[in-house]
């Protein structure tokens, strides 16, 4: 057994390159496994991951615990701005505090609001495809998978398109901290700077919408709730940032990971291209097969026994979606991509329970529309470089996705 496996180092190069093979052994051991590298318990089976996601004896608030332990460290002080905003996020709250924020934001971001974005997703997807060069390598992440979700969520919030590139920089500053790429130098400082600039920008936007409301998310967040209970100014800033940011990287990664999976499975790609495979169901299988979210973190609020393992109050548990989604106890032939898989939707990519991804309807819509457009409008789509995965604990994303195409069809030729 390699040392990485003994220490359960989820950031070891082989774990980053192929978490599925890396975790198969751990999943077949009973109970939770202890990782000395991450100083945390690790849950890998589908049943354990799902139960823990819904277990009220665990909290998603890792920032509170972090601040209690390291609040005086230079890093925490450097990132004080970031934590001041992040502490308002529903994703880190529990119980009634979480419920209140979730209900208020949910009202502004309902599946019905999202459904209306279909036309924009199609129009934008076609527009990005129009710019692809034929016969020379280009980065599909930068040309398609990143700008699509970024533009959609920025547009929904009410952010002008011109400011998109600025948002990407801010988002990357934040993601280094939130997605725990623990080896990046100066990550606390860059997160702090990004938060400060983004907060100022969003505060400005709120001020504009307060006097001149529009049909956008910022305006709806301002209006959400009753006279007695509304979002505070800081809560609106924090949740605008959360939506912007949560809507960026994960959906980008879903599109890229899906393209990689489809290129390795030409029959599946053809079924999706021709319409023989239902796009909605295909997206569920792609979410299962190579989920953009690898890990959710929970902290025990009391001493708990989980799957026969004694977990002490304050212990961290890493819920490994990447392992749960390939659990043979739930998914037959889990390592095979099968776009017709009946129970693909049982994947844990969006979590479960109270924190179930608020943006799931939007991510699903974008992938369901964008992937068939990409496949129909390009010919000879092939990888043109090695796949380099970001060394993150929480998300599975590529650094870039170099591809070539041999021809481009007009959107009207389909």
């Amino acid at each position: 057994m390699s040392t990485a496996l003994e220490a359960l180092d989820l950031l070891a190069p082989d774990a980053i390159a192929d978490p599925y093979t890396f975790l198969a052994g751990t999943r077949s051991r009973p109970g939770l496994s202890w990782s000395s590298r991450h100083k945390a318990w690790v849950a890998t089976r589908h049943a354990d991951v799902t139960a823990l996601l819904r277990d009220p004896r665990f909290t998603a608030n890792r920032v509170g615990t972090y601040l209690e332990k390291h609040g005086d460290s230079p890093e925490a002080r450097a990132a004080a701005t970031f934590y001041r905003v992040a502490q308002e996020w529903m994703s880190l709250k529990e119980g009634p505090d979480h419920g209140r924020l979730r209900s208020l934001v949910q009202a502004a971001f309902s599946p019905r609001v999202v459904k209306n974005m279909g036309g924009l997703v199609v129009e934008l997807s076609d527009g990005f495809v129009d710019t692809f060069p034929v016969g020379e390598p280009f980065d599909l992440l930068q040309r398609f998978a990143f700008p699509l979700p970024a533009t959609v969520i920025a547009g929904m919030l009410g952010v002008p398109v011109e400011d998109r590139d600025q948002f990407k920089e801010w988002s990357q500053g934040l993601s280094a901290l939130v997605f725990a790429a623990s080896d990046v130098e100066g990550r606390h400082e860059s997160a702090a700077r990004a938060t400060e600039e983004l907060s100022a920008y969003v505060a400005d936007l709120i001020a504009q919408r307060e006097v001149d409301p529009r049909d956008d998310l910022i305006s709806h967040l301002i209006e959400a709730g009753s006279r007695q209970d509304r979002l505070t100014h800081l809560e609106i800033v924090a949740h605008a940032i959360l939506l912007l940011f949560a809507g960026h990287e994960t959906t980008t990664n879903l599109i890229c990971n899906s393209v990689v999976a489809l290129l390795a499975n030409p029959a599946a790609a053809e079924a999706l291209r021709s319409g023989e495979a239902d796009a909605g169901r295909a997206v569920e299988e792609l979410l299962r097969y190579d989920s953009p979210a690898k890990t959710v973190i929970r902290i025990a609020l009391e001493d708990v026994e989980v799957a026969g393992t004694q977990v002490a109050e304050g212990d961290r548990v890493l819920l490994l979606q990447s392992a749960a989604n390939r659990d043979p106890a739930v998914f037959a032939d889990p390592d095979v991509l099968d776009l017709t898989r009946a129970n693909a939707g049982a994947h844990t990519a969006f979590g479960s329970g109270p924190h179930y991804c608020l943006g799931a309807p939007l991510a699903r819509l974008e992938a369901r529309l964008a992937l068939p457009i990409l496949l129909r409008r390009t010919r000879g789509l092939t990888l043109a470089g090695d796949l380099e995965w970001q060394p993150n604990l929480l998300t599975r994303g590529l650094e870039r996705l170099e591809v070539t195409i041999t021809d481009l069809k007009e959107s009207s030729d389909e």
Binding site: P111, G351, P354, H355, A360
Partner: protein, 62 residues
């Protein structure tokens, strides 16, 4: 407002995010971590529509 709406939660689809429970605790509850609608339903059609519209996995119908 007088028509009673009887929503049902599709338990194969429900992920237990509990938005409906917070909106209309008299109608919806969590049973073993999943949403359940009281068979008596509700006369507040607007509220039921809101619960259905906001459900993140669209598990509420009638």
């Amino acid at each position: 407002m007088s028509d009673v709406v009887r929503p049902v939660v599709d338990r194969d689809v429900c992920v237990g995010s509990a938005n409906c429970v917070r909106l209309a605790p008299g109608v919806f509850s969590l049973v073993e971590g999943q949403g359940h609608a009281d068979p008596g339903g509700s006369a507040d059609g607007d509220l039921m529509r809101q619960a259905a519209d906001e459900c993140p996995v669209s598990a509420i119908e009638w």
